[in-house]
Symmetry: C2
Subunit: 228 residues, 2 copies
């Protein structure tokens, strides 16, 4: 369902070239819940950005449902992402001038969903992550963990086929983190949504069905299921 072959990303803009992603070949099946772990700087964000179509590789291919995306035109890729992928950024990337509810609706607006459905979904999602009293607050009126939860609500609201989340619980206390995981697991089981998280959080790692460890841009371990 998501497949990479010999994926590579080299940054040439600093003192020495950085092989952020260095020959990664992985397959993710539909409905899998995978945690990608590894030291700070090991390539987790770079890898997620590549398979999420937010960045172009310097080598190798990326297939999503059989479509090779690394050579897609920008507008085509934009539509593809919009219809299939929900992304939670490590630094949230909320739109400062929009409220929490508007930030969550925004994706569905671009998807041209009916206004009433959009409003309802956005409100529901924000209630689910415990922010029903913050619908009309802007990002700078929210705590770090509240912003993170808006970013998660935004990614989930359109029930995308794939949810790629970059350290989605970094700024959350245990109760909020477990709540988020419950929501994600429910979507995973009920809608067969494929979840791929980068994380340092033991609470997330324990609930993933598969754990991939990156070190220096390469896969160093790949463990599945109850053997863990």
């Amino acid at each position: 369902v998501i497949k990479t072959t010999n994926l590579q990303k080299i940054y040439n803009n600093s003192v020495a070239p950085v092989k952020a992603v260095n020959d990664i070949s992985l397959e993710f099946k539909e409905g899998e819940f995978t945690a990608i772990v590894g030291p700070s700087g090991s390539g987790k964000t770079t890898f997620l950005n590549l398979i999420g179509g937010l960045d172009k590789p310097t080598g190798g291919e990326i297939f999503i449902d059989g479509t090779e995306i690394s050579t897609m035109k920008e507008s085509e890729l934009f539509d593809f992402r919009l219809r299939n992928i929900g992304f939670v950024f490590q630094s949230y990337n909320l739109i400062p001038v929009l409220t929490a509810k508007e930030n969550v609706s925004f994706i569905m607006l671009l998807q041209k969903r009916p206004k009433a459905e959009m409003e309802k979904r956005a409100t529901e999602m924000l209630e689910q992550v415990g922010l029903s009293d913050k619908l009309n607050s802007r990002p700078n009126q929210l705590s770090g963990g509240q912003q993170q939860r808006v970013a998660v609500a935004r990614a989930l609201a359109s029930k995308p086929k794939f949810v790629l989340a970059d350290e989605p619980t970094a700024n959350l206390d245990t109760e909020s983190a477990f709540n988020l995981l419950d929501i994600m697991e429910k979507l995973n089981k009920e809608e067969n949504i494929t979840l791929i998280f980068s994380t340092h959080d033991q609470r997330v790692i324990e609930r993933a069905g598969r754990v991939i460890t990156l070190v220096d841009g390469r896969v160093s371990e790949d463990e599945v299921g109850s053997s863990r």
Copy 2:
């Protein structure tokens, strides 16, 4: 050494007033290592910003070494902070156009330290947090955890009397987090630097000498020492 009496911060800019900090009276002794914990939105960042002089309270007083800071003039407060407080922000607040080394030196530059000393300290600090190969990289060339470590190096470089850190390990793997804690504890023991961290991270909480729990802007628990 840091003392608050009936501290209050009310935000009046949203739908309903938010009592982010609601009557907090606490004392922090010199050389203490305190973790402030609590649910997302409980007031940790707001409290840290208040005692760090980055925000003004709506009620109550803040004393640092006997000086009441909430009524200080802006320029006076700026100098006071510069000389005494190292702050690690929840969202790092690195200067995008400066390299890692320049970001760390910046504080010491403002403190008018000799250039040679500054360069040496900045390089040492970045080596200590494992970023010796990133001295000349800009923030957008760094991973989330690397940016976080630069923010920590910046706060520690001038060996301030107080280090206030807002979730300083949120984006770090265990090895990097433990390394950071070792550095902080060393400064705590050798230089008697007072450490106050807001955190959700169990790995940090376990090493703090005192744990204060906030709920809805109030202190709900305050546990000290080996009884924990």
